[in-house]
């Protein structure tokens, strides 16, 4: 069975039956998962930071790093699979965005990532129907193209679905 593995700042999509889209060990990063029921396409971007303003050059080279450039990049990618380019009709799910214990404002990158992602989604009129955000544990995420099912895992915990 094929797998598309996404690293930090990567985005990708698939409509190939039997395939999975996967990202390993989200810490403070957030994975935005877009499911398009019409074309049966699954897309994911592994966002590391809230805003591209921190490093414009990097955002051009690797837009998936940032919430505000990563989501448009993923929508563009999914348009190649025949999806509506503004995300109309897509189902949105979010996971990741963990924080270290006893965090302060500076270190709440996970929370800021999630907020920034939601802001960008609102601009498209999109909102998450399900989310598994926050906490203080890392998450590995696998999405099945066939079923759109999202499987989460974290060492020391039983797997769970979103």
């Amino acid at each position: 069975m094929g797998q598309i593995i996404l690293g930090v700042g990567d985005y990708g999509a698939s409509n190939r039956p039997g395939e999975e889209v996967k990202t390993f060990a989200l810490g403070s990063c957030v994975s935005v998962i877009l499911l398009d029921p019409k074309t049966r396409t699954v897309g994911m971007v592994h966002v590391a930071l809230p805003e591209a303003a921190i490093n414009k050059a990097k955002s051009l080279q690797k837009p998936g790093y940032f919430a505000d450039t990563g989501i448009p990049a993923l929508l563009n990618e999914m348009a190649k699979f025949g999806c509506q380019p503004k995300g109309k009709g897509m189902v949105v799910k979010l996971c990741g965005g963990a924080n270290v214990m006893d965090t302060n404002d500076t270190f709440q990158i996970g929370k800021r990532n999630a907020l920034s992602i939601k802001k960008v989604l609102w601009k498209y009129g999109m909102g998450a129907v399900a989310e598994d955000l926050g906490g203080n544990f890392s998450r590995t995420v696998t999405v099945s193209v066939d079923t759109g099912e999202i499987l989460l895992s974290s060492p020391g915990r039983p797997n769970w679905k979103l």
Partner: protein, 292 residues
């Protein structure tokens, strides 16, 4: 019922792992001395044929993208910088520990090495990007060794991860470190400190290993470095490179702000830099035929 661990048991475990090579020990001692020069590093590496070969392999790996091959040790060392030379030396002789399968932490194979490498890079970035008066190469080396104690106690922790996580979630214990102590009577910072003593590591590095989760308890003269590695460790975990079940289950000591000036933009920039550097270094070590 888990088996309890005491100092004697840890010392027996330590006696079964290979010692650091003479060249690695010398490199650690020399690079901790603030007055050393690059030539002293070259002289140490030259006495060790295996290390020399490995250094040349790493510098000429595709990850560094050099157009012309570097064939002399002097050039290789000045190109890579002393932190990578120390990293290669330690990675080689402690590979048995770095590459141990840490079942006690339910960790993927190689994840201790990846976590330590990422912490090393992050600790150095914390120092350079906050402008702290700390030797950045020393922060790298200390970051590389900070969690070595996990390899010593992992076997004793077998089968405890789920219970520890449940206890932390229910706030029955403070964090993974205190849970290790409760479960087996010993935590990875104390185990690592025993190894630091056995290996005669420089006092600064021993202090980082012992107090990287409780930096306020470190000796005042080492405290800013210990805080830098404390942040480096947390940044590595935030970047998805923890060790295993323990990842992100430690407490951030926000008193770091007394020693390091870090705002959210600087932290974001550190996270980016760490990711880039980590990808490059992990690749260069792998291409050089390292088993890590």
């Amino acid at each position: 019922m888990t088996e309890k661990v005491d100092r004697e048991k840890i010392r027996r475990v330590i006696s079964s792992v290979p010692l650091l090579s003479a060249s690695a020990t010398q490199l650690l001692q020399t690079t901790t001395d603030p007055d050393h020069d690059l030539q002293s590093i070259v002289r140490i590496v030259k006495t060790d044929a295996t290390l020399t070969a490995r250094v040349l392999k790493v510098v000429n790996s595709a990850a560094f993208g050099l157009i012309n091959e570097i064939t002399t040790l002097d050039r290789a060392i000045s190109y890579l910088g002393e932190r990578l030379i120390v990293g290669i030396a330690i990675g080689d002789c402690a590979s048995q520990l770095f590459n141990k399968d840490l079942q006690g932490y339910e960790a993927e194979h190689g994840s201790l090495w990846r976590h330590d490498l990422r912490t090393a890079i992050a600790s150095r970035e914390v120092v350079t990007q906050t402008g702290a008066d700390i030797n950045p190469d020393l922060a790298f080396t200390a970051g590389l060794l900070h969690d070595i104690g996990k390899a010593l106690i992992s076997d004793y922790l077998s089968g405890t991860a789920a219970e520890i996580i449940a206890k932390i979630s229910a706030e029955q214990t403070s964090d993974y470190l205190s849970a290790e102590e409760e479960m087996i009577g010993f935590d990875h910072t104390r185990a690592g400190h025993e190894l630091a003593l056995a290996w005669k590591l420089p006092a600064t590095i021993a202090e980082v290993i012992r107090f990287h989760h409780t930096p306020a308890a470190a000796q005042p003269e080492y405290r800013s470095l210990v805080y830098a590695v404390h942040l480096g460790d947390n940044i590595a975990m935030m970047g998805g490179c923890g060790t295993g079940a323990d990842s992100m289950h430690y407490r951030l000591d926000t008193e770091y702000s007394e020693y390091l000036h870090l705002d959210s933009n600087t932290l974001a920039s550190i996270l980016l830099a760490v990711n880039e550097e980590f990808n490059k270094l992990e690749r260069s070590f792998a291409e050089a035929g390292d088993t890590h």
